[in-house]
């Protein structure tokens, strides 16, 4: 086979905690190998050197929360051949999308002494509300092995093995005892997309939805069970209002219970 040309990789940050891009630096065993396969052309968390675009692969972390960022994401899109969003902020608006359920001005004055200086949008929105996204990698934070898998798949021209089924599938493959059935601990696993290898149930706690809704989820049926297990509507609202609060199925579910409570 012909020598593959080194693709150029860029990493962009919008409103986020940096955790997802840090996943790349957390690939201790693979980092140097990655840098042999791709040219890390723009990655401010790691390097002052920047190479001009266009970029073959752009990883975008963070959500859009300011007018300036709403502009900037279009520049990033234009400069990128493949744009992959990483993490709950970029794919669903992130924890900061909790503002979407409230009056953002009130939030601003709660936190800042001089709210007039704060330039912010009413909503924290995922990247795909602004530009076309080629692939979404979920998680809060993303799983570094899934990130490697996605990079790998793009480098090798195959489909990434990123399943969209429930956390339960991984939970069972891993041989966990179901915390919901055996311990009575409410768990979002059945409506949440796999990817973490059922981390929370493995540590005896209920899944709290880092990877967002699975395909074809059924939150109302799960909530009904939570209610039967003794959870209040407020508790259900909070359960669905975490890092993927603004993802449609979770948003609808929390709003339905908010209306009831």
């Amino acid at each position: 086979m012909a020598e593959r040309k080194k693709p150029k990789l860029a990493v962009w940050k919008f409103a986020s905690c940096d955790g997802c891009q840090l996943s790349l630096l957390d690939c201790e065993d693979e980092l140097l190998a990655i840098s042999e396969q791709v040219e890390i052309a723009y990655f401010l968390e790691a390097s002052r050197a920047t190479v001009k675009g266009p970029y073959d692969i752009s990883l975008v972390e963070g959500s859009i929360t300011t007018p300036h960022d709403a502009e900037r994401i279009h520049q990033v899109r234009r400069a990128s051949r493949v744009l992959i969003t990483i993490g709950a902020c970029a794919t669903a608006g992130g924890i900061q999308a909790l503002r979407n359920f409230q009056d953002v001005r009130e939030f601003t004055s709660l936190v800042y002494a001089s709210p007039q200086y704060i330039e912010t949008l009413k909503k924290s929105t995922p990247i795909d509300e602004h530009v076309y996204v080629d692939f979404e990698l979920r998680g809060c934070p993303i799983n570094k092995y899934q990130l490697l898998e996605v990079l790998n798949a793009f480098l090798n021209g195959r489909k990434p093995n990123i399943p969209n089924y429930s956390v339960c599938v991984e939970c069972k493959r891993r041989g966990n005892v179901c915390v919901m059935v055996a311990h009575g601990t409410p768990c979002l696993g059945p409506v949440t997309q796999a990817g973490c290898d059922a981390l929370c149930p493995s540590y005896h706690r209920g899944c709290f939805g880092c990877y967002g809704p699975k395909e074809n989820p059924n939150p109302p049926a799960l909530s009904e069970r939570f209610t039967a297990m003794g959870w209040s509507d407020q508790e259900i609202v909070r359960a669905f209002r975490n890092f993927n609060a603004y993802a449609e199925p979770f948003r609808k579910e929390s709003e339905a219970h908010e209306a009831k409570s």
Partner: protein
């Protein structure tokens, strides 16, 4: 130089190799600094606002998301604050495990900073990957050390970033003793590697730059501080964490629009490794003390550039401490103590890798958070960083712009500022003449 006679503007729009995004704006006129702003433009994320109305047990998971670099610190500060409210004191093996988790985060964060963010500055590389071409072994050692730190967090916390296993009262599950034991061998390698790390960083070239800072850190009678202690300084501060708000405030300073945390009536202060080291040297492990002395590092260090050596010493300490904890570790009987809700206000302050991280919460009798306040280390250092830059830049105005820019970046990186942490900085307005 010619440049000195006209006005010049240096703007670094995106600061590289810091976590998060910040920018620097300097205006020079007639050879003097006319204006200097260290600007943070992480979009506001409103954590303190949306913590209101959440259950107290959720604070650790939510506040972790402030920063992907030091989530453990956020989790622990919030947990300590909540435990204060509930009147819980965690002792014995659970307390030890919390220290162990902290060791993991320090190792991982310090090593990341030293090898991947800061060392390239001293050696003149754009990044560690470039540096790896000439110093492959150094970078590989760094990666392996970092991995060991991450491994501790992963075993105990479930994953490296935003761990899921800590809770108010303890942990969800105590991992098998076997998992820790398996780490011991790696940790012993790491201890030697960290000694090398101290020697390596001590051998770098440091600018001759010192200041008379007020160093603030936690201080504990028996141990090097992670989770607990009183807030002390080299200039006489000695208060309980509960009194934080009485002594610290966030003010609006003239040349900048950022909120700077300052000591009331005293001004800027300095938190982080240098402060901890200067104030707690005696509680470092004997080995860490010995190696620090060997490279001529004894309190009081006032050159912020030397923080890279201090981070290495702290890494060595954290490894030593992790070994001690694992070797003397008893399985706790329960992963967590029982908690009963009661209303109240609580304060938590722990030593994030970058310095003290302060949380305060008020919760009602149902455990719902009424108010929250979070002051991360980066905002506490913000004024000091600006002051440093002011002094440092003044001395190097004759440097070509490109070099000066790099020097400034390096000076900022002394503080390993974590800008995602800056939960409440104002966006700066740029003044133009």
């Amino acid at each position: 130089m010619k440049q000195n006679h006209k006005s010049q503007t240096i703007r670094v729009d995106y600061l590289a190799r810091v976590e998060g995004e910040g920018a620097l704006y300097i205006r020079i006129k007639d050879g003097r600094i006319n204006d200097l702003k260290f600007k943070i433009f992480e979009p506001p994320r409103f954590f303190e606002a949306f913590l209101r109305g959440r259950h107290f047990t959720e604070a650790p998971d939510i506040t972790a998301r402030i920063c992907g670099i030091c989530p453990v610190a956020y989790q622990m500060s919030s947990i300590h604050a909540m435990e204060k409210i509930l009147g819980i004191q965690i002792d014995g093996p659970l307390r030890e495990l919390r220290r162990l988790l902290y060791c993991g985060e320090w190792i991982e964060s310090h090593v990341l900073h030293v090898y991947m963010l800061h060392a390239p500055d001293f050696l003149g590389y754009q990044d560690s990957i470039q540096m790896a071409r000439d110093y492959p072994d150094v970078v590989k050692t760094g990666l392996r050390l970092k991995k060991i730190g991450n491994e501790i967090v992963r075993i105990l916390g479930g994953r490296e970033i935003h761990p899921i296993n800590v809770r108010v009262g303890g942990f969800y599950k105590i991992p098998d003793r076997k998992a820790f034991q398996e780490l011991l061998e790696d940790l012993k390698w790491a201890r030697d590697a960290a000694i090398g790390m101290v020697r390596f960083t001590a051998g770098l070239n440091f600018p001759d730059f010192e200041n008379d800072y007020e160093f603030v850190a936690l201080s504990h009678p028996e141990e090097y501080p992670f989770n607990e202690g009183r807030l002390v300084s080299n200039k006489g501060l000695d208060i309980a964490v509960e009194d934080y708000d009485a002594h610290f405030e966030e003010i609006h300073v003239e040349h900048s629009n950022a909120l700077h945390s300052v000591l009331k009536e005293r001004g800027a202060y300095f938190v982080g490794p240098l402060a901890r080291f200067n104030l707690n040297f005696d509680h470092l492990s004997p080995l860490a003390q010995e190696v620090a002395r060997e490279v001529g590092l004894v309190p009081e260090i006032r050159n912020p550039f030397k923080s890279i050596i201090v981070r290495s010493v702290e890494t060595l300490y954290a490894i030593d401490e992790a070994i001690r904890i694992i070797e003397s570790f008893d399985m706790p009987e329960q992963p967590a103590v029982d908690v009963t809700v009661r209303a109240g206000t609580g304060h938590g302050c722990t030593e994030a890798p970058r310095g003290i991280l302060y949380h305060r919460y008020t919760i009602d009798e149902a455990g719902i958070i009424q108010t929250a306040k979070i002051v991360p280390p980066t905002s506490q250092n913000q004024k000091t960083i600006e002051d440093d830059l002011y002094h440092y830049v003044s001395r190097h105005l004759d440097l070509p712009k490109e070099d000066l820019t790099w020097q400034c970046e390096q000076a900022i990186r002394n503080y390993d500022p974590c800008i995602s942490c800056a939960t409440h900085f104002l966006k700066l307005e740029i003044e133009r003449e």
